[in-house]
Symmetry: C2
Amino acid sequence: MEPESPSKRPSAPVLCVDRPVYSEKYMESELLHRKERTPETVKEKLTKQLHCSSDRAKAAVLSFLPILSWLPSYPVRKYLFGDVVSGLSTGVMQLPQGLAYAMLAAVPPVYGLYSSFYPVLLYTFFGTSRHISMGTFAVISLMIGGVAEREAPDSDFYVHQFNSTNKTLDTDARDTRRVQVAVALTCLVGIIQLALGLLRFGFVAIYLAEPLVRGFTTAAAVHVFVSQLKYLLDIKTTRYSGPLSVLYSLIEVLKKIGQTNVASLVVGLVCIVFLYVVKDLNDRFKKKLPVPIPGEIIVVIVSTGISYGMKLCDVYHVDVVGEIPTGLLPPSVPKFSLLHSLVVDSIAIAIVGFSMAISLAKIFALKHGYAVDGNQELIALGLCNFTGSFFHTFTITCSMSRSLVQESTGGKTQIAGLLSSLVVLLVVVAIGFMFEPLPKTVLAAIIMVNLLGMFKQFRDVCLLWGTSRIELAIWVVAFIASVLLGLDYGLLVAIAFAMLTIIYRTQSPKKMILGQIPNTALYYDVEEYEEATECAGIKIFYSNTSIYFANSDLYVSALKQKTGVDPTVIQAKCKSHRQKSKKQKENGKREQSFSQIKEAVVKLDMEMGITHEVVDGEGSDLQENGQLVEAQAESDSEESRNFLEALSPVHSIILDFTPVNFIDSVGAKAIQAVIKEYAEIGVSVFLAGCSRTVLAELRALQFFSGAVTPELVFPTIHDAVLHCQCPRSHQSNDSM
Amino acid sequence: MEPESPSKRPSAPVLCVDRPVYSEKYMESELLHRKERTPETVKEKLTKQLHCSSDRAKAAVLSFLPILSWLPSYPVRKYLFGDVVSGLSTGVMQLPQGLAYAMLAAVPPVYGLYSSFYPVLLYTFFGTSRHISMGTFAVISLMIGGVAEREAPDSDFYVHQFNSTNKTLDTDARDTRRVQVAVALTCLVGIIQLALGLLRFGFVAIYLAEPLVRGFTTAAAVHVFVSQLKYLLDIKTTRYSGPLSVLYSLIEVLKKIGQTNVASLVVGLVCIVFLYVVKDLNDRFKKKLPVPIPGEIIVVIVSTGISYGMKLCDVYHVDVVGEIPTGLLPPSVPKFSLLHSLVVDSIAIAIVGFSMAISLAKIFALKHGYAVDGNQELIALGLCNFTGSFFHTFTITCSMSRSLVQESTGGKTQIAGLLSSLVVLLVVVAIGFMFEPLPKTVLAAIIMVNLLGMFKQFRDVCLLWGTSRIELAIWVVAFIASVLLGLDYGLLVAIAFAMLTIIYRTQSPKKMILGQIPNTALYYDVEEYEEATECAGIKIFYSNTSIYFANSDLYVSALKQKTGVDPTVIQAKCKSHRQKSKKQKENGKREQSFSQIKEAVVKLDMEMGITHEVVDGEGSDLQENGQLVEAQAESDSEESRNFLEALSPVHSIILDFTPVNFIDSVGAKAIQAVIKEYAEIGVSVFLAGCSRTVLAELRALQFFSGAVTPELVFPTIHDAVLHCQCPRSHQSNDSM
């Protein structure tokens, strides 16, 4: 489009407006008519709300049990093959991840398998996302592990050996206790998520800005990595929790690095290298491979075989997974007595879990063109965790690595998730015991390789440096706070910081003086654009912020500084001028300055009157006072104008109100005061581009009173500028 | 102004714009040219900053010691009389208030007199406000008292009597300790204020919104009132601090109300009635009285005389002020060892003290047309408190009641404050002992009557109900939190709440569809105004908020809901249409539907391509894909248009970006996704009225990539509407 040559394209649209200049007074009285709306009565509203029809009931049931809406129309021939392949692949991943993340959660491995079965099964019925893979997740598992170890520390479970003074660790009692803690926590997380979902609080996830979540998960990756070092090296260290725990853990690992079990380390490193190569191959030949190479399950099977064959546990003292009971445990009620000390943790875990699930679900929904319902997702997650907790599971959410596999192997619906859970069930009831010789170092290797994706998020720092420093700050604060303070407090600090940045943005606005782009009604920054030219005697002030208590002072001082017209300074000059002329009069030399003195005295009186009005808030004196002054000043007006014009060549200031989205009483008072202050030195202040909502707010705040009338308000900057340039109107405003 | 009849007023300005429609692409390439600016080098900046000239040095000295700038030009004849009258009146008020507020601060009365002397003297030299009266202030004194009683509770000072098992209270030791605490606190407050001032942090006061300060001070008045009840009734109660202390204190007073000393109560009530009447007379005959009736000093003198004459202390057991040492104490260093437990309190006191002073100073400065410097005020207050603490004073700030007297009795400069401090000095060194028989109930009466003004702030509730519910909420939260949690935590809660309201405002924007006001380029809410008419096929969406992480989802869902065009729904319809026509084809009945199927398949491919692009962030596929689709779709375009138009008659959506003041990466991605989502269903999305700063932000965030080009951005809504209405351009956009 080349508008400068309309001859080339005769159809190029042309903007043509030709109308009188409108002020708000005209607009409200003549131009705009409010539509009459009969407000709904409370009864009507209630009836509407409580109205119950079969359609509504059906919709409610369908929304609560999404499976009812998609399963009946499941296109078996088209979707089933993809779902089966995807379900088996994901199920095969669930196994080693379940075992590994159980370690993170500080519970015996078999509980990871339980967690990979029950909730995954349930999600099939209640979930709205077709592609995310529910199950164990590193960050959540680590958070649970932290709580479990805090509530059931090793130190509580040293018992006196029979006929010995040495104390030994009663790992069975400890693990039982930790499972109780993890299960109770999961129950509470489920209740919280369910309650949030039923209360339609799905929107809480919006406070988790992307840079915040990425900084937080990167920090979680650091925590997970450090926590796995001891398994990789196969050394015994105490586990720390609370602030700085990651540093203490790292220091302890480094101290005990001499005790490394070389066999474990070798096995672990070999696994890491193998898994990394497989991951790389999968990425590289994504399109050629029908199904990604199941590196993790290969590693688990092979290393279990080697461990069993070479008796790694007995000969090389490699730490192995150990007992895996076959079959499922009967359901039992979580220990509610533990709940009171888990409230804060469970809130943090509930929110993190949900935000992980919903962010991934949204990405897939956008990609495949269906909708996910945030509130239903919360309900589904809550049900999975709550019900699961009766079957000894720990908290689950979706895992990014598994979800990507589920989607890329052709999964189309929740059926894939169902199948993956059945794979886990098969292992639990049939061949679980076969994994007993699996070295823990292999699980550590699996976890560490899975962290790679999260560590890649460090690249964000460079990206954000180029795009948005504020978001970089959020990322860095979320990362550092979560690494140093632990994941729960870190998340809180990060959220608080993210909110403060919003406040900061409203407090550090860009301020500029606008100038007209010739032959248009567009006004842009005069410092930035060559074409923008200021209109003589008119200053247009722009500051991209709403005006409220915390920035109204900044707004006013920026206005005075940018326009270069400071009423205080000019008044001071006025006074000194008056004093000078007084002296001159006393000397009897220049009698003609009499009118100037009178004018200055009038100014002072006016000032007292007007500012008194500002303090007392009684609007009526002013007008009388103003009229009085006007009458007195009429004779001197010419001279006074000359005098004032010498002080400041600006006769009008236009405040561009387009960026003002809301204004509070402090802001309104500040603008009122500004208008009056400038009126005293003969400068008219106009508001332009005020949105209708802000105008309504101004009215509610009794902004228009005394000298501040709707005539000062114009719908666009151009209206205001034309009004100021018209000599008649300027004069009448000037003497106000 | 009646623009509809321009014939009447030939000079009425007319707005006339006639230009081609601009898109951002044209604007950036042809219309606007950025001014070249050579950025300052670091060296230049440093040189500028560190440049030291005699002018700068002089200005720095004058700004640090404002007395040097105003005293040399002090107009003795004109100002001195007013200053003397005002100084004496204020000094006479300082005396009883100093004694009374010392009681609040839980220190012996004479320390109130010290506090009314040293800092007031110092403020003369460093302060920039000419009318505020520094000295003791009820709220601050109460906060100090709370800390002093917490750090030195009565229970620590019970000692075994000589040859007795009963414990008695060692009031001397207790008071000495409390003075130490108060003085150390004052020292810390001074340091904090001084540091904030030197670091130019005067702006922190802006976080104290007016409704917040008023709610807070009303709560403080409640605290002060309750704390004075026991003195009025002359009963002994323990003093509580911390949350709910005001309730405990009230309950204890009510429990012990039977022990009331009737003589004290009578004296107190008489004083209250007298003071109230005097206050009323002063208010009523403000203009006729040359100097307000000094009710407080009359009450003090008369009641001291009566107490001495009638031996109230001995005969009626009325609690009196007791020992007042004559003369000043030698300076001593505050006990720094106490500081560590006072940090939080001192921050709260420092901020409250400063905000009181600056808000009053600004009111007077505005009234009398001079400037106060927030940072210099902080420095002055800090110096007053810090230096004062070496002379055994407790924290001071300005008091509203005294400042109003100082101003209304004709005070013109800081000389009035100087004189009032000299009045106090005279009493301290000469006649202080004469006030020893003064009953404490009289001081309680003085405090209570002074609280009246603060209790009047309850009227705010009604006022704010009418003007702004959000500000009402701030007031109520500040009041309730401060009453229940105590002043320190209450202030914190109130500030946090006030900040949350700002966030809330950005999250609950007004959303509307705009329509054109005929014959103008103005677009207003179609639901609100009769004249606003929507343009056929174009929806203009307005939401008065910036777009960032915490509201981008809300923005998008509001957009879909308000415009009534939801891409997900339309795509679902598209798919079902495709399936239906597939079936039809399988039945071999209607061959002519082939093109429709093809179109639908193309749509689906497009969708996959485009949304894939969203996830991977690689912009280039899309265009290729788009071109491919364009080529394929050319033949079907007519039919596809009909099909889509049947689904939605809207072909263009314009997002009004004028209220967007900032956008972050999450917001930019959301808008990008919206543009692409709508493009899939053949609806073009345009941005209009984007400010140059937001455009710069969008560029930094790599917003313009792939299908999202600057051609979608228009400087005004009207440009965008005209562009949409021009059939050629619409067509070319539609097939994109």
